[in-house]
Amino acid sequence: MLPAPETTGPSGRPGPSRRSVAGAARAGGLRAGRRGAGRPSSGRRSGPGAGRPRAGRSAWIAFALLTAPMLIGLGVFKYVAIGWSFLLSLSDARGTIAPSRWVGLDNYRALLSDGAFRGSLTQILLFTAFIVPVTFAASLGLALLVHRIRRGRAALRTVFLIPAAVSYVAASLLWKMCLFNGLPSGIANTLGGWFGMDPVPWLQTTSPPLYWIVLVTLRLWLQVGFYMVLFLAGLQGIPKDLYEAAALDGATGLRLLRRITLPMLRNTSVAVLMLLFIAAFQAFDEFYNLFNSGLSGTGSAPVQTPLGYLYNTAMGSQDYGLGSAGAFVLTALIVGVTLIQGRFTGFGRSEG
């Protein structure tokens, strides 16, 4: 691009730091001036107010151009959607997405008195209580293992991370049809057979609830590599001389882990915990695919997550009022847990 004749004027003016408002306005004014050169209407550039340290029109135009798609998209698909849904949650909206008859808090009352919904909340809390600590420990353990290995570290990381490319649907299929199917040919049953165990219908056995093994191992396989990478990044950020200093003091093994590695991984750990919580609360795919009809035969799931309940309510019974109310209860739950966790662990303290 050709430099505009005005370039030397505004940019030569002494200004505060580059990133300040004044500095930016300077560049904004520059732009306005350049465009103005070809346009009769832009006499304002040469007017007395031209060089004032304020965001110029061109800065506004550029800002609007760059952010408009995102702001409009979020506005429509988050703010409008949520506002509309809030109206629906206070209305009787069966089979319609237009809020018609105002019913106040009836949907919320119906929801909270529905055993199926409360059951789904219990299930998701149990699931979270299982999956969060297990995934946390497993991914931290894997990261420590991979971090220590010198030769073949990249290959090993790939092995653990590759399941992250697999969808919950495909993984559910593998878990349901070949790892934990009720047939003697399933891997779990074949392995059990070597130790003299009888074949077990893993997904249908509810006492003891063996299906938990299926659920937890599936999610572990899919997720552990992702969180391992986060821990690996954290481990790389720990200065080596910390370990050397501690080693000089005679600290070894577990002591090093407890005194240096874990405290230094604090920020990563908090981020991982938060991501794990949110992911667990949104569980749906594997529950849907493991427990909906198919080979399990029963057709009714022994476990349902809140999202599964919402899916059945909104898409199955077409009750958008009740479904919207459920969305708000679940959102409130997730936001609440995140905020409480943030308060306890100090997440976001460093965010400016």
């Binding site: 691009m1 904004g28 965001a55 998209g73 490319a165 697999v166 049809m177 790892l179 849907y288």
Partner: protein, 286 residues
């Protein structure tokens, strides 16, 4: 104990630890790769072979016809579903990343009044998990006529506030000297973004783009909600329908899993560097 004996004891325990670690790594590697192997094995066997209690490591005769049967099945429309998924992921990944980069740049660099408030509005949407809001989103997309359309599946997923935040952090750290030259050449803010900032954010675009591609290809709940007609099914929905149908065709199912997993695994291996970088950034700067 003599010094030599102590040394050799130390060496022995080190060797033992090395062995134990090797064994652990071997076991874990096997455990992590077994599902892939079982899937491939199942896709090449016949139904009797899969369910037979007599374990075979690999089929004696390869049944490649499982794949042609999969694509020939008119009730499944797997070919159509794969094409849909490809289009959706190929549009979503670049567009959502570019939108986030543009907005991130503006929020990081262009100081207009009210910018903080707007950024606050963007960040606030982060608090609400995407899959929880499928009911409201369905209400909006449904009223715009997006049910059973590809755009209905694509558009709501194009706006990623988290990526905006990541890009904003990225551009805040972007050296101002580079932009200075462009400024002297008379570039305005938009030109600075398009000519200088954007071409210099290749690695970041690739990282978040690769992650967006994976997410889009693997997403399930939203395509399930919006794509009720087989013409709008994605590969995941077709696979799931197959899985939850009454008559289970096991070799077909495994063949279906192979065709939905293999393209992504290949892409994953190719773009691995960026994916790892993307995970590391997106996890830590949250």
């Amino acid at each position: 104990m003599t010094t030599a004996a102590r040394l050799s004891a130390a060496r022995l325990s080190a060797a033992l630890r090395l062995c134990a670690r090797g064994l652990l790594v071997g076991l874990l590697t096997t455990a992590f790769l077994t599902p892939f192997y079982l899937m491939l094995r199942g896709s090449l066997m016949d139904a009797r072979g899969i369910t037979s209690p007599h374990w075979t490591w690999w089929p004696s005769t390869m049944h490649f016809e499982n794949f042609s049967a999969l694509f020939g099945d008119p009730t499944l429309s797997m070919g159509r579903a794969l094409a849909n998924s490809t289009v959706i992921a190929l549009v979503t990944a670049p567009v959502s990343t570019l939108l986030a980069s543009a907005a991130g740049y503006a929020f990081a660099r262009i100081p207009v009044p009210g910018r903080g408030v707007l950024l606050g509005l963007v960040v606030a949407t982060l608090m609400i998990p995407g899959s929880v809001t499928f009911v409201p989103t369905f209400v909006v997309v449904g009223s715009l006529g997006g049910v059973n359309t590809l755009w209905g599946i694509i558009v709501p997923g194009l706006f990623n506030p988290f990526a905006v935040l990541l890009f904003r952090n990225f551009y805040l750290q972007f050296p101002a000297e580079i932009e200075e030259a462009g400024r002297l050449d008379g570039l305005g803010w938009f030109g600075l973004y398009r000519r200088i900032a954007l071409p210099n954010s290749g690695a970041m675009l690739a990282s978040l783009g690769a992650l967006a591609f994976i997410d889009s290809w693997n997403s399930f709940l939203w395509p399930l909600v919006i794509g009720q007609d087989p013409s709008a099914w994605t590969a995941q929905i077709a696979l799931s329908t197959f899985l939850t149908s009454q008559t289970i065709n096991l070799p077909g199912l495994f063949a279906g899993a192979v065709v939905t997993i293999v393209p992504l695994v290949v892409m994953f291996l190719v773009a691995q560097r960026y994916i790892v970088a993307g995970i590391a950034t997106s996890g830590l700067k949250g």
